[in-house]
Amino acid sequence: MEYFKSLINRKFKDVVGSRYKDVLKDYREFLLTEEEIVLCDFKRILIPLDIFVSEVPEDFYDLLTAFDETEINLVYITDSDVISIINDVLGEDAGREYQAKKENYGRGLLEKISGELESRGITVNRRLYAGRKWDDVEAMSENYDLVAVSKSFGGGRGDENEISPVAQRLVQQMNVSSVLY
């Protein structure tokens, strides 16, 4: 930390002198404090998945191996609002069938990604449930150091590189670091 301390002194304390504390308080968004110049410790990582996520790029797996003693939680979410609409319009049997089909895909995806991660020595937990993708992931993110969101998560993309509105909003709103892949 000696290097960072000298950096803070050179960059800020020497510049604003005796007003350092006041300036720090009033202009916090511009000044990087000693507490903030820290390496992020990505121990707990959340990867939300859904029917729209199919491929996870090799570069992303490669990045995850840079973090030490990481535990990854893979969470596959089926949209509960869509299930409710199908229940209301087509009946509960159709709703159950829809959910079963989506979750069948989800189990396969969880299996595939878990295998890739475990083969790289990363600890993985899996979960599958029906819920609200956007609200649930935003709420869950508070318990993680990093959230990795596919550009496809939540759907609604026009072309391969476009970012879904759900992925875009999550990256904008979450209070933790994120990876968009």
Partner: protein, 149 residues
Amino acid sequence: MKILVLLDGSKWSYKAAINAIEIAKKKDAEITIFSVIDKDETRAAAFYLCRQSNMCDLVNEHEDKIYRDLKKSIGEDLNELTLNMNRMNLEGRSKIVEGRRDEEILKEFESGDYSLVVMGAFGKRSNIRVGTLFNGISTAINVPILIIR
């Protein structure tokens, strides 16, 4: 692995760069710290200053001064970070260019065969969530983007 780090003079991008260097160290990756001085921004800042200070006869001087200050400040950040990379024996380089930020970043990205882009969560106007830069580049970048908070 080749990492492109976007440095814009904000504290968030500095924090992103420190973290990118750490990743590069662990992955034995090549790292480029890249910064764009956008003259449109310095023009806008100078004009705002002239309106606020009622000294619009000095607007060109303000623009030059803001430009020089910004370049100096980013240059200092780059020097610090390069020094840090050298200490760690990392293969890295830093680069400052002038132009439109989005265009220059994408030009660098496309020419560099990068496998990871690292950026800060907020720009210099930190009240804007995930700086406007993100919207301009994220769809065109087809490798993971790590956004540090």
